[in-house]
């Protein structure tokens, strides 16, 4: 069971272990520090922030910053907090995730079980969409959304996120279905089962793990997106990431760090929650894209 090369000789063994654990704990504290600072700062009063320091605990717990960030904080001239933007994000993230995952599943199915001449080449051409810097499509897309009449709307953001998410979702499903033996579908085909029957009866029941991976990946990507949000929406239609940035950069009045931190936690909470609940699948999504390149 032991992997002896991973341990030292007897004498230095104990010291070595102590050093390893100390380093690991120090790293852990470093990674936790910003979260701790965000949380404690959001629960402090402004006086408390001024008299105390970054790592000090709140003298008196105050949830005022949280209600303000949600309800009444000002971004520019508008003072309604982030609740509207939070709901905006929900309203385009959910459809965009569902649609891109569904299409990705069908694409992956075709690219593995129904290959045709040139399908591998098409897949490669599609994959390039994962690598382009999106700056190169922003100007044409801004114009196109205007022509389609969906500029600065929920539909527009759903559209953009679906279009540029398809390469990733297709990649996920294709790499997953490639491990499913083709014999399984071949046998069904001989029995006269058609394209959709095989998908619903054979492929879909195998798919829950990759669906979870894909949904979590897409949810994290789209919820956390800033570039498309800041370019393709304005005013009250902006997603939470853009609103958070505006809130922090609003220079009128006193700088309320506690409200900034509460707002940042609100913006990060959904993806953090997903990470805590389904971390295993989150990591699998991160590495699934990477291992294949």
């Amino acid at each position: 069971m032991g992997e002896p090369y991973r341990t030292q000789t007897a004498g230095s063994h104990l010291i070595g272990r102590a050093v390893i654990y100390t380093l690991l704990v120090l790293f852990a504290l470093y990674y936790l520090m910003p979260l701790f600072v965000m949380l404690t700062t959001s629960l402090k009063t402004l006086d408390d922030i001024r008299t105390g320091n970054l790592l000090a605990l709140p003298v008196q717990l105050s949830f005022d910053a949280w209600t303000k960030a949600w309800d009444s904080a000002c971004t520019g001239v508008y003072c309604g907090g982030l609740k509207g933007n939070f709901l905006n994000s929900v309203s385009f993230v959910v459809p965009a995730v569902i649609i891109s995952t569904l299409i990705g599943a069908f694409n992956g199915y075709v690219l593995t079980m129904w290959r045709f001449k040139g399908s591998d080449l098409l897949f490669t051409a599609l994959l390039i969409g994962c690598f382009i810097p999106f700056q190169v499509v922003l100007l044409p897309m801004a114009q196109t959304l205007g022509w389609l009449g969906i500029a600065n709307s929920t539909a527009g953001l759903v559209f953009v996120h679906v279009v540029y998410g398809l390469a990733f979702t297709t990649l996920f499903f294709r790499n997953f279905y490639v491990t499913v033996p083709v014999e399984l579908t071949k046998a069904a085909r001989i029995d006269g089962a058609g394209f959709f029957t095989i998908f619903w009866r054979i492929i879909l029941p195998l798919s829950p793990p990759i669906i979870v991976v894909c949904v979590i990946w897409q949810f994290t990507q789209i919820w956390n997106d800033f570039l498309f949000g800041v370019v393709f929406s304005s005013g009250q239609r902006q997603p939470i990431t853009v609103a958070l940035n505006n809130l922090v950069n609003t220079t009128t009045g006193v700088k309320e760090y506690n409200v900034d931190m509460a707002a940042a936690i609100i913006a990060g909470l959904p993806t953090l929650l997903v990470y805590v609940l389904a971390g295993k699948y989150f990591v699998r999504g991160l590495t699934a894209g990477a291992v294949k390149g």
Binding site: L54, L126, M141, M261
Partner: protein, 309 residues
């Protein structure tokens, strides 16, 4: 197949079945079609469109008369662009370097049969779940000289301690590196850890029999065999670096002045805030060409190497 029970003539049935067969064989292509069309228009077509814009004199509105290289000439004469390029060099170099080294160290440390490994791993990796905007907001507060880290250390008695990178031109890009590394190291660690777990123990046991110590084993067996992981981490990190936009926007807003601009923030500022569409398009094309210039040879050489063993 059974004969149809009267009604339609055999010829018609055959024709119908012909259509059905055709649909059945074409169905996969029909299903894949919309995605391919999207890629063709919204990726390739839009790249061509942006390329065209970069050869025009478009300012507040797009114009389509060819004007040659004026925008590229203007871009290369623009100090702010060169600051952005230089910053990208600094940021990418340090960001990738620190992420790779720290990620590898963490992975090797975690690979020593550690108690609570899963728990520690979860802590190192959680920043990946946050957006760069949230990360930037948090670090902006931590690094602010007035009440942040500087204030904390001064309270501890070091009254002349200064840590004001975030508001100092020429240093603010290093503040971006700090936050970027904090966010992305866990991801690299996860990749390396997966790579370490995939190494064949038999090779290592053989080396031990030959009397190799742990340093030697890591130096000449374990780390070299992680080459593919280095490769994919490098691509992913390089890609994050070139696309970096949100982190700078949230942390420094490109400031002070434009001292922490990156090409991505440059493009946004000129294309959407300053109504210089042509210049924005030219800078976007430069970003694309950088990605192509780095990624294509890397993928090419790596696939070649794999093919030749």
């Amino acid at each position: 197949m059974n004969q149809p029970a009267g009604g339609a003539s055999p010829a018609l049935t055959r024709a119908r079945r012909g259509i059905a067969d055709y649909v059945e064989t074409a169905l996969p292509k029909i299903v894949l079609g919309p995605t391919l069309l999207c890629a063709l228009i919204f990726v390739y077509g839009f790249i061509a469109w942006t390329a065209w814009l970069s050869f025009t004199e478009s300012r507040i509105l797009p114009r389509y008369d060819f004007a040659g290289l004026v925008q590229y000439i203007a871009l290369f004469a623009n100090d702010r662009w060169w600051t952005a390029v230089k910053n990208l060099g600094i940021f990418a170099g340090l960001f990738i370097g620190f992420c790779l080294v720290t990620g590898l160290v963490l992975a090797i440390l975690l690979d020593q049969r550690i108690r609570a490994e899963g728990f520690l791993r979860a802590i190192y990796l959680y920043p990946m779940a946050l957006s760069f905007i949230v990360t930037g907001t948090a670090w902006r507060w931590i690094l602010n000289p007035g009440l942040g880290l500087e204030h904390l250390v001064r309270q501890l008695g070091f009254e002349h301690f200064t840590f004001d990178w975030i508001v100092t031109p020429g240093m603010s890009i290093y503040a971006v590196v700090i936050a970027g590394v904090w966010q992305s190291t866990g991801f690299v660690m996860a990749l390396f850890l997966a790579g370490l777990r995939g190494i064949d123990d038999a090779i290592i046991k053989a080396a031990q029999v030959d009397g190799a110590g742990p340093v030697r084993i890591y130096g000449s067996i374990v780390i070299p065999s992680l080459r593919p992981v280095f490769f994919s981490s490098l691509i992913i990190l390089g890609h994050i670096a070139i696309k970096s936009f949100d982190l700078v926007m949230a942390l420094t807003g490109g400031g002070p002045g434009f001292s922490s601009d990156l090409p991505a923030t440059f493009m946004y500022t000129f294309a959407f805030n300053r109504n210089q569409i042509g210049l924005g398009a030219a800078s976007a094309m430069m970003m694309l060409m950088t990605v192509v210039a780095i990624i294509v040879p890397m993928i090419y050489s790596e696939t070649r190497r794999q093919r030749h063993g």
